[in-house]
């Protein structure tokens, strides 16, 4: 098994550069301004170990070419968001039918970030206007939720969207820290982003957006991978790639455990 794990790790490592290039989206810049934002994290991979109970990651960044005077008057704002992999998501609504509560209506949405943890220098409404935020998918309330297929009675759409955001927030997958970004020196900032214990595995993105006097300046994105490690990864891959063998191993393990139990505790 050890060699299998090793092999797996090696194949993962070789796959990384190609994936990172693929996932690295182009940097968006407003050419009107000369300022640039840059960010970095200490790791490009978060490992979920068997005792994983969430993690705090710190994103460091700098504003290049910032105007000293504007910095002093807090004219620059930074929003840092960690977005999880995009997954098609369905919201279902229970209704009482013949005395029992059953799922009656459902709306399926285009892939949305499975998790979203955001930090900013100030509460979002103080940074810029709603239209600007919505156009860039910034903030829990501005993540685009586009229904797919037949919505049926469209009047319920708002309710379903609110419910989705509410449940995501209640489960800790969507979080916001309106004062989580702090300037540590003139142009250097630090953003604390919290990863919940139930963080989905896959390709995440750290997005940093710079605003100057309520106007968009630049957006920078770097990838962050969340992976299961060691045994967890091995079991997951085994269960999905060799499901028949996995099922047989599960049965064998149960048979052995039951047999050992009856031998150890045999009374006669």
């Amino acid at each position: 098994m050890r060699s299998a794990v090793l092999l797996l790790v090696v194949s993962l490592c070789t796959a990384v550069p190609a994936m990172a290039q693929l996932a690295d989206p182009p940097v968006t810049v407003n050419e009107k301004f000369s300022e640039r934002i840059d960010i970095g994290i200490s790791t490009n991979e978060i490992a979920i170990t068997s005792d994983f109970s969430g993690a705090d990651i710190t994103v460091f960044g700098a504003i290049e070419g910032a105007d000293e005077l504007l910095l002093a008057t807090f004219a620059y704002d930074v929003v840092v968001a960690l977005e999880g992999p995009r997954i098609p998501t369905t919201v279902r609504r229970k209704e009482r039918v013949a005395g029992i509560w059953i799922n009656r209506h459902s709306i399926r949405f285009e892939p949305i970030p499975a998790s979203y943890s955001m930090s900013s220098t100030r509460p979002l409404p103080n940074i810029t206007n709603l239209m600007e935020l919505a156009s860039r998918d910034i903030g829990i309330n501005n993540i685009r939720l586009v229904p797919t297929g037949g919505v049926g009675d469209g009047s319920r759409l708002t309710e379903f969207r609110d419910a989705l955001r509410r449940i995501k927030q209640a489960s800790g997958l969507y979080q916001r820290h309106p004062t989580g970004v702090q300037f540590i020196s003139k142009a250097l900032f630090r953003a604390a982003v919290r990863l919940p214990a139930n963080i989905p595995v896959g390709q995440h993105e750290v997005r940093a957006v710079l605003y100057k006097n309520n106007q968009f300046v630049m957006e920078k994105v770097i990838p962050l991978r969340v992976v299961k490690t060691g045994l967890e990864q091995f079991i997951y891959n085994f269960a999905h790639n060799y499901s028949l063998a996995y099922g047989l191993v599960a049965v064998l393990l149960a048979t052995l455990t039951g047999w050992l139990g009856s031998i150890i505790f045999r009374k006669d």
Binding site: S243, T255, D268
Partner: protein, 308 residues
């Protein structure tokens, strides 16, 4: 102390899982049932996705029924021929059940059907058992002999064709009702994640008039194979067997069962049946309330494979 479940994809408290396994093991040892009907709802109460709870429950029952069937085999209270006939129906039923399970999951009604089946079966079986055991407790108090099986008395089941002789059970019986019973339990195994002992045992005693002494061993014997089959099929079609979760439950369950058996041996048969009836009814009522009472959140979100 938390442990990350690789298939359920969430972190759980290891002591809660071990405690659940031990408690269910204790009760299953005491009452001679597999315990699947307790473990699956408990896992769902603890926020394990229902699809994972059902498939993992089936895997856990393999361990407890192997343990139990071996004990019965040594004591000679296991009718292998009868078990094999039940198994024919059981495997067919499990195959059909898996299809139903996958279909319900696509429709988004899996949780509802699982809960409804539990309420219906636990409610009716628990109610019948309670009725029967209270009656025999009353008769025992009046010093009358207690007998579940009335020899010489035949019902419609015994007039069916394709009869077969089962030596150990001292029975000459049509294979049709045996296969049908196995088939029905097979469906329940894959849809509910239970072994089905709590339905199988009363049905064998009251419907097929099989001697009580061989019933538990024989039902455990065929449950091993049906739950093993279900585990493999769930693993290949729904990828929902969590081996880490199942193993923790098994270990605690096998140990808990030993203490349960000791306590069970000190109690009288009618008391045991009444206790089991109350337990079965209790779980049924708890699940029934969950369906009827207004939920805190009427919306639910499903993303990825199992949702949350």
């Amino acid at each position: 102390m938390t442990i990350y479940l690789p298939i359920a994809e969430l972190s759980v408290n290891i002591f809660v899982i071990l405690g659940m396994g031990a408690a269910v093991g204790f009760l299953s040892g005491m009452f001679g049932v597999g315990g699947g009907f307790l473990i699956t709802p408990l896992l769902i109460f603890y926020n394990i996705p229902p699809a994972v709870a059902v498939a993992t429950g089936a895997n856990q029952v393999v361990a407890s029924s192997v343990s139990g069937a071996l004990a019965h085999f040594r004591r000679g209270t296991l009718d292998i021929k009868l078990g094999l006939v039940l198994l024919v129906g059981g495997l067919a039923g499990a195959t059909v059940g898996i299809q139903i399970f996958s279909m319900l999951r696509r429709l988004g009604q899996l949780d509802l059907i699982i809960s409804l089946l539990y309420v219906v079966f636990l409610g009716s079986v628990g109610g019948l058992m309670l009725w029967e055991s209270v009656n025999s407790l009353r008769r025992a108090a009046q010093n009358k002999t207690v007998s579940l099986r009335k020899p010489g008395q035949h019902n419609w089941v015994h007039r069916l064709p394709f009869k077969m002789r089962f030596k150990r059970s001292k029975l000459y019986l049509s294979v049709i009702p045996v296969i049908l019973l196995g088939f029905a339990i097979g469906i329940l195994t894959s849809v509910m994640g239970v072994g089905g002992g709590f339905i199988m045992v009363p049905a064998m005693i009251y419907l097929l008039r099989i001697p009580t002494s061989v019933v538990i061993g024989t039902s455990l014997f065929q449950i091993i194979f049906v739950t093993a089959f279900t585990t493999v099929v769930q693993a290949t079609t729904n990828f929902s067997v969590d081996i880490v979760l199942a193993w923790l439950l098994m270990i605690a369950g096998v140990i808990g069962a030993q203490y349960g058996v000791r306590v069970g041996q000190k109690m009288r048969g009618e008391q045991l049946r009444a206790g089991l009836a109350l337990l079965v009814l209790g779980v049924g009522i708890r699940l029934g309330l969950g369906l009827v009472l207004p939920p805190d959140e009427i919306y639910s979100v499903v993303s990825g494979s199992f949702g949350f």
